[in-house]
Every structure is written in structure tokens, then in C-alpha cells.
């Protein structure tokens, strides 16, 4: 539901004395709706939370188990697999995508392609020592997990929509939001799973 409705509704509720002054989450939401301006490609629509963000915000990233499963199933259903069934691309291309952190800020040029941002949060190839630690290390990912069809499908799904397996994960939903296309995700799958990829050396 667009937040503007929520905002108007909240404002009315506060005026009517129904919403409580100590409902800080609602009040913060109202404040945020007032305090931002569109800039570059970053429009105000970005403040409108979708159902997933809404659930994670509401439960401080820890929704109850039953809801968690529902949300994850919902997110998994958004994953679009390649029509030709091919899930492995070229790990060299994958490495380039993993390196780039560009895209979607108000100073970035609008449009695609944008970067995968992978090294911002993950250790991946042993050759790149400038990596973040917000996500788990992906070193030896393929060697440890195996380059099976199931694993390829899992990795493709995870990159397409990370929330399919962990509803309130910190990882963006790259395919779902249209940041990475099918071909790019294939390259990233190869970066992680191809036995020749430096990840598995």
C-alpha cells in the first residue's frame, strides 16, 4: 500500500486522538514523508514501503515464524528463471559486476547497467582484499557447496531475490528490483560456482 495513504490515515488518526503520541514508529513515518525531496533519479516513491519492507519494519526485522515463511514464499515466487534454463554464465564477467558498487544514488546516472555491489559486503575472490564483512564470506563457495543444478538454482534465486530465503536479510533483491538482469545474474552464479572461478581456487 502506498505510504501516502498510510500517512494521511495516520495524520487523521492522530488528529482524532486515535493514534497515540507514543507510537513512535508511525510518527517517524509521518515525519519522513514530510522531510524528503526528490533528487536525481531518487524520487519520493522510494519512501513507499512494499509489503516485504513493511513487515520487516513492523517487526524490527524479526517477524513471527509463520509470517516469515509466508513472506519468503511470496518473495521466492517473484524469481524469474531464464526460459532456456541456462543458469551459468562467465565468471570473468561476474567478477566485473561484483566489483562495481555504482547505481541508484541520486548522483548516479539513471538507467542500467548498475553494479552488483558484491564486494561491498562479501569476501569473494582471494585476489580482492578490499571486501566488506556485512555478508558472509563466499570464498570457496562452489568448492564447499558443489556445482549441482540445485545449487545453481539456489544461487540464481538468492541473487534475484535474497529475501526468498531470509525475509529481512540485509541483501538487496537485485533481480526483483531490476538492478541486475538475467544475463548478469548468470555471470555471478558462475563467479561463485564455476570450478575455474578464482573463488574456488
Amino acid at each position: 500500500m502506498p505510504n501516502r495513504f498510510l500517512f494521511l490515515l495516520t495524520a487523521l488518526l492522530v488528529i482524532a486522538g486515535v493514534a497515540r503520541a507514543d507510537d513512535y514508529r508511525l510518527r517517524a513515518l509521518m515525519m519522513i514523508q514530510n522531510d524528503f525531496q526528490a533528487k536525481g533519479q531518487a524520487g519520493l516513491d522510494r519512501l513507499e514501503t512494499d509489503s516485504l519492507q513493511h513487515v520487516c519494519n513492523k517487526y524490527s526485522d524479526k517477524p513471527p515464524e509463520a509470517l516469515l515463511r509466508l513472506v519468503e514464499a511470496d518473495q521466492l515466487a517473484t524469481v524469474k528463471y531464464p526460459a532456456d534454463g541456462r543458469l551459468m554464465g562467465d565468471w570473468r564477467e561476474g567478477e566485473k559486476i561484483a566489483q562495481s558498487g555504482r547505481g541508484f544514488t541520486w548522483t548516479d546516472k539513471p538507467g542500467l547497467p548498475v553494479g552488483g555491489n558484491c564486494y561491498n559486503c562479501h569476501e569473494i575472490s582471494p585476489k580482492e582484499l578490499s571486501f566488506g564483512t556485512l555478508g558472509p564470506s563466499l570464498r570457496n563457495f562452489g568448492r564447499n557447496r558443489g556445482n549441482t543444478p540445485e545449487m545453481r538454482q539456489y544461487v540464481f534465486s538468492k541473487i534475484f531475490n535474497a529475501k526468498s530465503f531470509n525475509a529481512c536479510s540485509a541483501m538487496p533483491r537485485f533481480g526483483y528490483i531490476g538492478a541486475l538482469n538475467e544475463e548478469q545474474i548468470r555471470h555471478l552464479v558462475a563467479l561463485l560456482l564455476d570450478p575455474d572461478s578464482p573463488v574456488n581456487q
Binding site: Y24, R27, M31, F36, A42, W106, G132, T133, I177
Partner: protein, 288 residues
Amino acid sequence: MKQSIAVAATLAMVIGGFCSQAVAKDTRSAAAVAAAPTPAAKDAATAEFDKFREVMEDSNPAELFEAKGEDLWQTRRGPKSVALADSCDLGLGIGVVKGAYVQMPRYFADAGKVMDAERRIVWCMIEKQGFSAEELFRTPFANENFTPEPTSLVTYVAGASRNLKIAVPIDEPHVQDVYRLGREVFSFRAGPYDFACATCHGEDGKRIRMQQLPNLAKKEEAIRAYQGWPGYRMTGGFMLTQQWRMNDCFRQQRFPEPRYLSDTVTSLLTYLTANANGNVYKGPGIKR
């Protein structure tokens, strides 16, 4: 003059080999030699920069902006030809600057608002000196060719709190209220990447690439978001305030832009600063 300092600083960095890029490369090759590079070894880059910063702080370029700010504070200016020193109350009485910075954000009854230092100073410029709000809001942050007056004023006021303990009056009900709003803003996820401030700043010991991320919900680490601001930025060579820092965080969060001096930014600054209460503020600093 500013330009020459920037040049000198750049030269110092290059000659000293302290440029963060260079350090990062050195560390890379050093770490590559070692069989199993540990995160601790790689954070040597950060340690090197900290050393460099210590050296630089003996002749901190921020002091020039403090001097400029003091001049602006003392001089009769604006359509009303009034000095801030004779009209502006930063919470400790009209004209009192010592200790004011580390006790903001605080509630100001005359404005009916909780305000951070920059917001209060700009409020005084508009209300007391008669400056145009539109003008002040047009270019709020510094660039290579321009330093907004509020930036110099904030630097001056911040300098007058050097070596004092951070003491946001968190028990005051208005401040408490805004603090709680700030805590909610901190964890609000939205935008194309589903990011909240807390996504990157809610856990201990994390990094984006080589950049360490303080856990801003914790007292020991919240100080890291406060220390060194306002800061003289080596890249480009100009002064930036916490208002700018919050603005750029939202940019990286892929959000639209927070309005300058808005309630949302004040609430975040209230949350972050009060979390750092009790730590000693070292004054305006140096940033990469």
C-alpha cells in the same frame, strides 16, 4: 588560502606516502605476501590513516574555519545589523558558545523545536539577523569553491567545545521524544535496496569494502560518528558538517534527499549524539 592548504595537504599525503589509496595498495601487497590475510591486518590501512590524522591535527585546517566562524559570530551582520554574539542563544544564554555544541541537540522554547547546532545557528541568522532562509537553504554544503557561512559558524561553535564531554540533555521530555523518533528513523527500511541506517550501522565490527562501520546504537561506537565533525575533508579540501554527513548517508542508502535542517535529520543527530553522551569531544577534525 584554502586552495594552498589543500595543495599542501595533498603534497604532505603524497610525500608521506600516507594517501589512503597508497596505504590500501601497500596493505594489499603486504597482505598478499602473507598466506592468510586477516581482517586485522587489512585494517592497518585505517590505522595508518589515523596516525596521519594525528600528525595533521597539530595544524588542523579546520582552525581556519573556526577563525572565520568566530569573526562571523562577533560581527554585526544581516539586514538587522545584529551580531550573533549579542542575540543568539545556543542553549546556555545569549552569546555563550563554550560547551554549547556538546549539549545540542536540545530544546529551544523560542523556536518550539529540538535543534542541532547547525539548525540553531541558521535559525538565529534568519530570526535575529534577518538573513533570507531561501538564500541559506540554496547551497547548504561546502564545495571546492565555496564555504557556506553556517559551516564556518558551526566549526567555530564546535571548536568552543573541544575536550568537553558530550552531554545532550536526554532527560528533557522534548529531547527524549525526538530521540525516540530518531531511533525509528535509524531502523526504517525502504528504497530500491531495502536499506535502513541500521542495515550497515547496527552491528559490531562490520565493514563496507575497507571502510569500518561503527555500530551507532552503542555508546562506545556512536562516538565514532560524532568525533571529527565538523570535518575538513582531504578529498577536495573543504569543511563539512554533520548535516552534510546525514545527507550523504541517505544518498548512499539510495533514499531521496532529506531536506536541510529537517526534523528527520535533527532526530537522527539527537539519537546518534545522545548515544555518544559521556564521551569527550575532541573538536573539529580531519576526514578522508
